[in-house]
Each structure stands twice: as C-alpha cells, then as structure tokens.
Point group: C2
Chain length 482, copies 2
C-alpha cells in the first residue's frame, strides 16, 4: 500500500520524450582555442562509436579490452587519415557521470579539430547533446536527484567562496537529504490516512492525529527556516547588493574604483588566471559584493543627482548595504543629520535589514578631522580619501561584517534556488491546509488531498515528483556539454 | 671525434634559465564557464602536491598506489573543507606530455573553482606555468623536437582541414625527419673535414671532395624545394587571400555575403559547435580562403573606389585570387577589355602567380546573357546574380581550383613557419659559400666554418642547435597551459 501510494505520486512521462537509447556528444570544456579540449560521448553506442574512430598507440590494446577510467593514447582517424592525436578514456556504465557508457576524448584545443571529431562521432550515429542533457541523463539514470543536478549548474556558475560552498553542499545532497527526510515522515502518515480510507466503513483511525499535528509543527518549522534562508542564500549566490549614494561631486566613482582596486591587488596574486570581467562585483574573503547600478557612476564622473530623487531610493531598496558618501570638507553636521533622517523616513520598516554606513570623503583636503564628526550620529562612520586610497580597507572590512550572518548559517541547509523556494512556499500552504483540516476534524479523504499536495511539492524539489515541463525548464538553462 | 664535434655545435644555456626542478601548474582548457575544466600540474613535486590536496572516493586507494593514466574520482580539499569533486589522473614520467611527472585534474568548469584549486597547488609549492612552458618542458625533456613543438601551437590554431593536416604532419615529425637526415649527412662530412684539420701537417684528405659536392647538390635541391613550399604552406596555414574588386555599386558586399552564406549552410549542419568568428574567412573542402580588407565592403554598401586607385592595387598585390566584379547589365565589352589590360599592366610579372576571375553580376536584370560576353577575354567568366544567390557555387568551385596545388604537395614536407623559412634561407647561403670554397679549393679550416654555419641553421629548425633567445621567442607566443 505504502509503496503503491508512493509510486502513484511519481510522474514519469519524461522517458517518453527523452530517448536513453540515443548516444549523444558535445564538447565538455569551454569554447575557444586552448592546449586541450574534452569531448564527451554518452549512450549505449558510445564504445562502438569510439572503437570505430580510435586507434590506440599500443597495438596490443583495443578499446574493448581497456579498463574503465584508463586513459589511452592514440589517434582519431576518419578511416583513411589521422585527424588528431588524443587521450581517450572510457567509463563503463553505471560508473560514469551520466550513468551511461561514456567516452571522453581529450584532443588538441582547436575549435576546428573539435568540430571534425564531433562530426565523425555523428557520422557513426551519435547526435549533438542538447543543453544540460548529460546532467539530465544523470538524473534519469538515478545518479543524482533534481536538486543535486541543479547544484551542478550552480557550482559551475559559482564565482565566490560562499556560492561555491553552497552549491557543492547541495550537489553532495545535504539539502536533498533534509527534504527527503521530511517527506518520508509525511509519506508514512499519508499512507496510514489512505489505509483508513480503505477501511472507511469501519471508522478506524490508523493515523494518530496528535502525532500528525506535532509532525506538521516540525515540518512547518523546518520549511519556514528553509524559506527564511533563501534571502541569505540568494544574496550569497548572487552577491550582497551594495549601493553607493551621495550628492554630485562627492567622489562616488573614485570611491568605487578605489574599492575595486583594493580587490585587484588580492586577485593579481595568482598570475595568469583569468577572472570573469564582472567589473562591478568584488569578492572579499569568499563573499561576493555586487555594486548596484554602477554604470552611471562610470559613464559620468559623478551622476547628477542628490539623495532625495527617486533613482537613489530605488537603489536603496535593492541594496543590503548602503554606503552614504559625503564630502567631509564641505558638509555640515546639520546636513548629515538631515540626510539620515530623510533616509530613515524613506526606508522605514526595512531599515533593520539594511546596513547604512557613512563614508566621509576628501579627508585629504582637511587639516584635521573635526571633532563634531566623530560622534556624528549612531551610525558607523568611516573617514577616507578615495583619491589617495586612504582607509579604503576600513570600508572592505565593514562590508565583510554584513556577510557575517552567512558564517552562522554554515551548519544548516540553505535554499539558493527560486524553484525550491516556491516549492517550499506551496508546501507551507498545504501544511497549513492540513492543520486547518485537522482542527476542523475533516474526513480522511479530504485530508489525503492536502497531504498529497504537500508531498507533491516537497517531492518536486528532489525530483521524486517531476514532469517534462519542469525538467525542460531546469535543463534548458544549462549550457551544452553539461 | 665525431661525437665531440656534434656536441660542440649544440648550445645548452637554456637549462640555466629554465629550472626543471620546479613544479608548474595552469589550466589546460579554454577560459570561461563550462561543464568541466582541466588543470595541469607538471614537475618533480606534482605527485606530492596532488597527494596533499586529493582524497580518493575509494578509501582503499591512495595516489601513490594508483597506476599511471588511471582516472580517480575524489575530492580536492583545503585541509578542512571540500573545494570540489574531481577526476584526477597521474602520468608517471616519462610517459606524460611534458616528460615530467604530471597530474591532470578535471574539475567543475567554474573559473572561480579553477582559481581556488590552482591557489592550493601553489600553496603546496607549485608555481603558475609561463606561456608555452609545458611544451617547452616536452622539448627540454626530449619528448619532441623544436619543429614539433611549434606544430603543437599550429595544430591548436588550425582552422581548416589543410592547416590541421600540415600541423599534424609536422607534429608527427615528417618535416623534422627530413631536416635531420640532411643534417646528419652534412655532419658526417663536417667531421671528416675537422679530422683533416687534426692531421693538417700530413696533408691528407679524409673527406671526398667530389662526394661532398654531390651531397651539397642534394641538400641544395631539397632546401630549395622546401623554401618554395613555403609560399603554399603559408597560404594553406593562413588561408588563400582573395580580393573582390570592382567599381562602386556593382554589388561587392552582396557578393561577399552570398559567398559567406554558401558556407554557413554547410557549417550549420553541426548544431551547437561554436566556430571562431572570423567573419570573412570561409573554409571550402578543408581549405581556408581569406577575403582581404572586407571591412570596407561591409561598412559602406559599396566602397567609393574604382579599379585604378591605389587601394585596389594594394589588395591585388596581397591576393592570390582576384574576383573582378562588374555589372553585366551595364558594362560594355570595351570597358571590360580596357580594365583587364590595365590590370595586367599593373600586376605585371606577378600575374602568373595570381588567378583573375571575372564575375558578371546582376544577370537578374538581363533578359539574356549577351553573346559578346561569352568569349569576353581569355579569362574564366562566371555569370551570377549576387542578389538572388544564383550561380554562387560556381564561384566557390572556382576558388577551390586555386587550392588544387595543395593536394599535389601532399607527399612532401611543406614549410609553414617563417622561422623555418629563414633558417632554410641561411642554410642555402651557407651551402653556396661551401660550394664556392670547394671550387676555389680553400683550406679545410675555412671550409669547416661554412659547414658549421650550414649545420647550425639546419639544426636550429629542429632545436638540435638552440638558444634561450630562440626558445623565448617560440614559446612566448604560446598561451598559458600549453
């Protein structure tokens, strides 16, 4: 019964549309010219196709005789001519990334050569893989669940220590384990409720209503905690949004450049490593900070605006950290207090979630820092010279404080994916419906509907419940070769 | 004696500057985000460094116990935390690309993760590899000679069947073998001449002067043949230069687009393969054609120029194939003949090396092709409508004829590298000096000087004779990771 119920909640139409008997191929490494490139071939014909194209250097060796995971030196030939000298590795199913028989060819990194070898693979019956199709196969072959597959994409896209760590943890199943555990408990209850329906005429209760109620509390707490973790998870994944605001000519673009330069110095310790040119994101101690709308700062020396116009408040609403910059050599204490008051009025309730840091710029123009600034307001104030790059590290230190919460969340699972967040929200709604049903002592068959809904939404996270539409949406965002 | 002489002609200062006891690391795949990236670690500490960072999934396994060329699944850790799940392969010296102990790490293709793993390798004592340093080591460790090392770079940069084929042949040593053979013969004579010097008081001739003379003829012929092959080799490597010329508004840009589209249709058979965006190069049956200075054609609909102005003749001088386009619906036979005469006057002696093809455009505007065009001049004339893409394939067929010479050269070695060409030119000069010396019956010690010069230049091609300067120049052009 329990088994039958579990099965009924799983939808498998995918298999109809995704033909696992096809053999697929694609480059697995980034496009462009390089020392080497790796091409992937996955499916039941992978070994036959490779054997037709590959001539091992060691004449005693054949692909069939080679052990799994053993790299062979040899040539790719088109029958008459050598196309390239390569290293080829076979991975025997299920011990491969996709779970299929897989061949990886490490060839010279010329886009032309890659194209020629892929063409030969296709001549032998392979077809080009669609975006994310290798990982989709890994999912369909049971090598990973859906949330783990999504984590592969996140891991590849990770650009900071925090985003890498979260993606890796999700890929290794920490998050899935937690979800599956909750779902399993709910599933046991659901099957008892369903069992009651079979014996409905006898008016028995197999499922202990008060135990269910306390389980619902547990699940609700956990789901709430996970939903709450999303705002931090999202911020860690995409970078903590920072806004630099201030009146014209206080030195906003100079400050931004000084902060970005501060990081450059650290990054350039590793020569030759290319770094993604997201010019306006910096990574400090593994946490990414994203400067909001810095295009304006760069195009014009200082954009013509002052605190008070709509655009600035838009930035403030999007930011977690606001650096309010003013010219300390020209600004009176009264002006500052007025600005802070105005700011607090506008931000209102959200203030607690945001950090406002005052940056007093142009200390190079001052003989000494006037005493009245020292105890300005109840806000952190940093005195800098953006032009002379003085005290900039105090700003980066301060930014890092905004990220300290992230360290605290290190233990539990963190939700970073909007799809998971939505599924958790639906679960939460279903749980509240079940609880209401319990309170109203509604019949078992109605309770079962809400339970099924909760199970469905929890199961959609890990892919125990899935549909073609969901899979298409998830894997369509991957790039080819993944 | 022979041995001593051979040794004296080899310069080994490289070893002083290139410390093979250092362990180097770099990404071997193209930069950017992808499914996987491969990092390379080469040098005596490669296995120690990898062992410190790598934790095999199979707890029974250690890196020390793993066989060469065997991929291991496991984790890269920084001591406390997992950085990524990877596949790691060790290659035991000398059975690796560089000849060193080598480790290749196949990690998730995030630039951030690559950077973290490289940083860990450096913390363990590796340093970032310089451009071409892996291949330089392969040369220093005797895994390939210099001309083969240069072919690796050519192979990676190859973007057509012809350039790929030439680079692969050079990498596999066809060209080096030929050069080494010539040099070996010359070396034997040189050592006999040197031997004579030791017995100079006895007035003996160990070296048969007439045999030397006939050897010089052989070498001279071969060197001349190789030098001649350079112009074809260079063209096949970089693409056959094609110029489209003609008066304004005859449809040059429309024709270029029609020709480029002809190729697009073929290329797009392989979906998803990225191709280098050299917009104005087409590859037909494996031969690249490079359109000269097409920027002008694209920016303005038709550049304002007519045959006769300097810019057009500049193009003609650079081209191997000239497509002279005219508006067949408006141009008289007299005009055409006049243009051809003018063209021949300008091109003069070079005409034989160039192909001029007349393209009569805008046949869509004509009711029939007038008879007087048919036997226009003694030149191939193709009637097309660039606008309606009619007969464009006749142009591509004609272009291919220009490349037929390449097939003929398939047997012998082809020089594609300007450095090799220069070395061959110096060799040729030295051979002519030796021959003159023989004719003038100059003493052995003077003959020996010219012989050494010829040996030096031949040896510089394969790297039997080399210097830091040459190596720096060659490998400095490689990218990092190669």
């Amino acid at each position: 019964m329990l088994q039958a119920y579990a099965a009924s909640s799983i939808i498998y139409p995918v298999m109809q549309f995704h033909d696992l008997t096809e053999t697929i191929c694609a480059p697995a490494t980034a496009p462009g010219t390089a020392a080497i490139s790796v091409l992937r071939l996955s499916g039941p014909k992978a070994f036959d196709i490779a054997a037709a194209l590959f001539l091992p250097r060691n004449k005693e060796m054949t692909l069939a005789r080679a052990a799994s995971h053993r790299m062979l030196l040899g040539q790719i030939t088109d029958g008459s001519e050598v196309v390239d000298e390569v290293l080829l590795t076979k991975f025997v199913s299920p011990g491969s990334y996709t779970g299929d028989d897989v061949v990886e060819v490490s060839c010279h990194g010329s886009p032309y050569i890659q194209q020629q070898i892929l063409k030969l693979m296709m001549d032998q019956g392979a077809r080009m893989a669609r975006p994310g199709e290798f990982t989709l196969r890994a999912f369909l072959n049971g090598r990973m669940d859906l949330s783990q597959a999504e984590a592969v994409a996140d891991l590849i896209a990770s650009n900071s220590e925090a985003s890498r760590k979260m993606a890796l943890r999700q890929m290794r199943g920490h998050f899935s384990d937690r979800i599956r555990e909750l779902r399993q408990k709910l599933l046991e209850f659901a099957s008892l409720i369903e069992l009651e329906l079979d014996f409905s005429e006898e008016d028995v209760e197999f499922a202990d209503r008060s135990a269910l109620s306390s389980l619902l509390d547990d699940i609700d707490d956990e789901v709430a905690r996970l939903r709450e973790s999303f705002s931090m998870g999202n911020v860690l994944k995409n970078g903590i949004p920072v806004a630099i605001i201030g009146k014209p000519n206080v030195g906003k673009s100079t400050l931004l450049n000084a902060i970005l330069n501060e990081e450059r110095a650290i990054v350039s310790e590793i020569p030759g490593t290319t770094r993604d040119a997201i010019e306006d994101t910096i990574t400090l101690s593994g946490v990414a900070f994203r400067f909001i709308d810095t295009a304006g700062l760069r195009d014009s020396q200082d954009e013509i605006e002052s605190v008070g116009i709509e655009r600035t408040y838009e930035k403030i609403r999007m930011a977690n950290v606001i650096l309010y910059l003013f010219d300390a050599s020209e600004t009176s204490m009264e002006e500052i207090v007025e600005t802070i008051t105005e700011f607090r009025k506008e931000v209102g309730d959200e203030e607690e979630e945001k950090r406002l840091v005052l940056i007093a710029n142009k200390i190079d123009l001052m003989e000494e820092i006037p005493h009245h600034f020292r105890n300005l307001v109840d806000l952190e104030t940093i005195f800098v010279s953006a032009k002379r790059k003085e005290n900039i590290s105090m700003i980066t230190d301060s930014l890092l404080k905004s990220a300290e919460v992230s360290a605290a969340g290190d233990e539990g699972a963190i939700v970073t994916n909007i799809r998971h967040y939505e599924a958790l929200s639906h679960t939460s709604k279903a749980i509240s419906d079940i609880r209401k049903g319990l309170d109203d002592q509604i019949p078992g068959d109605l309770l079962a509907i809400d339970l099924r809904s909760a199970l469905h939404h929890l199961g959609s996270i890990t892919g125990e419940v899935t549909s073609d539409e969901i899979l298409g949406e998830i894997f369509g965002k991957f790039c080819i070769g993944k």
